[in-house]
Symmetry: D2
Subunit: 106 residues, 4 copies
């Protein structure tokens, strides 16, 4: 599925369950934050080196996939409800970051 197809499916998912009234930006920011908290908990006791090998452990890998999915789903839903084009915002920020942090010697 493309990003746009996932966004459409999230819209239909919310509409079919009458959950649109819960999906205010304020609530969705909290939901996103809660899911990032769950993702954080998976990495909290790992060393940086262990974190780089997290996907080698099948149970941890499944949890990481699951939490990353929750994070991206709430992020896409939030951007959709706000009417923000997430990829355009990301590209504009990358442009700014490249000016803000010039490469040494370039």
């Amino acid at each position: 599925m493309t990003l746009d197809e996932i966004v459409s499916r999230l819209r239909e998912f919310a509409a079919a369950r009458d959950w649109e009234r819960y999906h205010t930006p304020k609530n969705l920011v909290m939901a996103l934050s809660g899911e990032v908290g769950e993702l954080t908990a998976l990495f909290q006791w790992l060393t940086p080196e262990e974190s780089a090998r997290a996907l080698e452990d099948p149970d941890l890998a499944a949890n990481v996939h699951d939490e990353l999915a929750d994070v991206v789903l709430y992020l896409l839903r939030l951007a959709d409800v706000l009417g923000v084009d997430l990829l355009a915002a990301a590209e504009a920020k990358l442009d700014r970051n490249e000016h803000r942090f010039p490469v040494a010697g370039s």
Copy 2:
């Protein structure tokens, strides 16, 4: 830009600045979490109704775009470093959610 193009550009951005050594999954989860914290702060004193009109205020709209961009950039970088296909993970989770929360009467 497509999602894949943004991921590639983030790779080049980190490599050109010798920042790859900082981009462990553990560190990137923290960076993602910090940016979600900044996004949260933009909405914390708004009512749910005000949050739905956040983009009508030009200053707030610019900040929301900026923080959403930071969140998606760190999320894409994290998934890339881990080797996770974010859209596939999202699709698999949507499938599970549709089974977990059946539509009433369907």
Copy 3:
């Protein structure tokens, strides 16, 4: 128990389980952040008005107590490991806030 007694008990708890090596400030910040994420999830779909009555629901009240406890325990442990006097830091910040946000007409 006083705050200091809880801090002491957290020290003994970690030492007895040989968990001190996990309790770096970096890891404890992540643990704190994960617990705040769980607390956030309890409030994400509530209206502000419903959130003000959260303790009237016995199940929700138990969860709120539990997550608030996790948050304060990790916060106390983090401050202890860093060597920060949390109450002194709080008092200094209150002083600054009272200058930063003067009361109208005073």
Copy 4:
């Protein structure tokens, strides 16, 4: 100042500025989460070893004190608005944790 004195001062601070209407549990959880995000950002690129020496850098130490203060102030205000006795909740949780994670050989 004692914990109780800080809580009283926070009450007066909010009342004097007519900010009580903003201090719903939902909003305060978001404010707490935003401050934990700022604290997280201070530690995100540090190794665990560097994080243990964070207070040796005067600028970083000042920022850590400042963010820890913000976190504890919002946590105390949140517990006060909810009517939760934070230290009693912490003690009850410590009791549960000591049963949940018995010391090996004891």
